[in-house]
């Protein structure tokens, strides 16, 4: 297992279009704070990839960089085979990137339904939007019941459902999930991860940040371990689970 460990999906030539996300040696700064250095990461069509690491390792920053909320100082972000240099976050969202961000960030004084509608903001296909709304409600029946309740008044678990549902409403090609289980009761965590697998089974590629490294690696096909802004390890999920380093540092074994 190395920094570019062999992956489960078939290897491809550089710049292959099956690379949904392709980060090439990105350096990201918050002012003078160096949050990411030389991070190289890729996610292929149809994969669930886990991004693990301790607090402050740079996981959220990685997702924010992919979404264009922050730009890398050096290096390149490529999505669906094209560079996103010069694109704004809204433009990147419209490429087909759904992002359920850290902290959920719902529109608190809009209803559940309005929040979901906002996810479909850039779409014109009414029929498709209706189908996707139905499937979000099927994934999270709870949200149908809470349809006209203000998002700010929901429980944490329900808010997480809205956050994921809103990201799904854009009919994304790739879904970025930032700690979807944070603050949820264990039973809800299982339910959310069940839904994550379902979403992936229907063809959506997923990049997942998760504090619970074991759960993340059991769900994903591949994983990346970030340590203080750099990729420390990467490889197939089962290899990472089996690695003594990982077991000691992240799995508490």
């Amino acid at each position: 297992m190395s920094e570019n460990g062999q992956s489960v999906a078939a290897p491809d030539s550089a710049g292959g279009v099956d690379k949904v996300i392709d980060l090439r040696e990105i350096d990201v700064y918050y002012g003078r704070v160096n949050a990411l250095s030389k991070v190289t990461l890729e996610v292929r069509q149809g994969e669930i990839v886990a991004l693990i690491g301790s607090n402050g390792a740079g996981k959220t920053t990685t997702l924010r960089t992919i979404s264009g909320l922050i730009s890398p100082r050096t290096g390149e972000v490529r999505l669906f085979g094209k560079t996103t240099r010069g694109m704004g976050a809204a433009q990147i969202a419209r490429l087909g990137v759904g992002h359920a961000p850290e902290g959920r960030r719902l529109f608190p004084r809009m209803t559940v339904r309005e929040n979901l509608d906002m996810g479909a903001y850039s779409r014109g296909d009414r029929a498709g939007i209706r189908t996707d709304l139905e499937s979000v409600y099927t994934l999270f029946p709870r949200l149908r019941e809470r349809d006209s309740q203000l998002a700010g008044s929901l429980s944490g678990g329900e808010q997480q459902m809205v956050a994921i549902g809103r990201a799904l409403m854009s009919s994304p090609k790739v879904l970025l999930l930032d700690e979807p289980s944070l603050g949820l009761a264990p039973i809800l965590v299982d339910a959310i991860f069940e839904v994550i697998r379902e979403i992936n089974a229907k063809g959506t590629t997923i990049l997942l940040i998760e504090q619970n490294a074991l759960l993340a690696l059991k769900t994903a096909v591949r994983g990346y371990v970030l340590e203080t802004g750099s990729v420390a390890l990467s490889g197939p999920a089962e290899e990472l689970i089996a690695s003594p380093d990982i077991q000691r540092a992240y799995l508490g074994m």
Partner: protein, 389 residues
């Protein structure tokens, strides 16, 4: 990384300053008027609990107290000066309130979306009055409007949209030139810039329109008494002013609730990052907000011109600050609140004047501003305040 802990679970409490995300709480922190919990030191040390109790009580019942005092003022005016004058003053208060309300909405919309007190807004109001005056002269609307009823309608249909569009472009341009690049700068920078823009517009108007009152002739557009009750004569102008303001406010409400752009505006105000992730073009949404707020100020200016018939280069300064107080009263960021606040401020202005003399009207308004910021910074309608996360 901003520590976002999700929206507050419930009403943060009577004082409404419990949340660090509250727009008005922000405002209060800036003004240094925030109630200091548990720090009643000095001579008042022993009175601390009592003061706090009183403060909490006033905060909780602030709306009732204010409305009660206004009712008292109206009643006293009736007793002192007779019912007819009281009715006359109610009419005046509603007319003035309609104008404040339309202007207040512009302040509140802009504050809601970029947390900026747009000091130039009052001057956009004045400038739009001159735009309308210009269009009226250009198309000879005075003779058209006074010629026949059909002519009046035509004149209105010409002057309103043209002036509103011109004002909207002005507002959006101000944002583009002066505020956009300061969006992530410390808050004081755009605030001072806004004051600068205000001075700039006033200076331009002083040069172009001169230092004196400018008669617009629009007061002659609508004439006559519609009806009279209890000796109070209600003119068509009064009905037009109040009706027009209400129609525009309801139209805006429907726009913000139902349309795509309206929803983009609300979501951008509530959480800009999330709005970006939904693919919303933030710049365009903010431009639209300035456009609409300024267009409403233009409508207010035309109404003002039709009602009072005069403009002056600096009328927007005072009127703007009073309308801003209306926005704070209704809960800055809250559109409905700004509308209601406008009418309430109209009542305070007019009846404060009839009780204590006109020279006290503005002092009273600003006393109310201080009281709101001290006791109820979230405004009368509390939790509904639209803020950015």
């Amino acid at each position: 990384m901003s520590e976002y802990k999700g929206p507050p679970a419930a009403d943060p409490g009577a004082l409404g300053v419990g949340t660090s995300r509250g727009g008005s709480a922000m405002l209060v922190a800036q003004s240094g008027l925030a109630p200091r919990h548990g720090r009643a030191g000095g001579i008042l040390g022993g009175l601390g609990p009592l003061v706090r109790l009183l403060q909490g009580w006033i905060s909780t019942y602030f709306s009732l107290l204010l409305l009660g005092m206004m009712a008292l003022a109206i009643g006293l005016t009736g007793v002192q000066h007779g019912v007819t004058l009281m009715g006359e003053q109610i009419k005046n208060a509603l007319v003035l309130g309609a104008i404040y309300a339309l202007v207040a909405i512009g302040y509140t919309m802009v504050y809601g979306i970029i947390e900026l007190i747009n000091f130039a807004h009052g001057d956009v109001f004045t400038a739009s009055g001159f735009y309308a005056f210009g269009f009226a002269s250009l198309f000879h609307l005075d003779s058209l409007a006074t010629g026949s009823f059909g002519g009046l309608i035509l004149a209105l249909v010409i002057v309103f949209p043209l002036s509103m569009i011109a004002a909207g472009v002005t507002g959006a341009l101000i944002e583009f030139v002066a505020y956009r690049r300061l969006r992530d700068a410390p808050r004081l920078a755009p605030l001072i810039t806004a004051i600068g823009v205000s001075f700039l517009i006033e200076g331009i108007m002083l040069v172009v329109e001169g230092p004196d009152n400018v008669t617009t002739h629009m007061a002659s557009w609508i004439n006559g008494e519609a009806f009279s009750i209890a000796g109070v004569s209600v003119g068509y102008t009064d009905l037009f002013v109040i009706g027009m303001a209400l129609v525009l406010m309801f139209a805006l409400g429907a726009f913000v609730r139902r349309t795509r752009l309206g929803k983009a505006m609300r979501s951008t105000a509530q959480d800009r990052t999330a709005a970006l992730l939904c693919g919303i073009n933030i710049n365009r949404t903010i431009s639209a907000t300035f456009f609409i707020g300024s267009a409403l100020a233009a409508a207010a200016a035309i109404i003002y011109s039709i009602n009072y018939g005069v403009l002056k280069w600096n009328i927007g300064f005072h009127l703007g600050i009073i309308a801003f107080t209306a926005a704070v009263l209704g809960g800055i960021g809250n559109i409905v609140g700004a509308g209601v606040g406008g009418f309430l401020i109209g009542i305070i202005y007019v009846f404060g004047g009839s009780l204590f003399g006109g020279e006290w009207s503005e002092a009273l308004i600003f006393a109310v501003l201080v009281l709101i910021l001290t006791f109820r910074p979230v405004g009368l309608f509390g939790v509904e305040v639209t803020t950015r996360a």
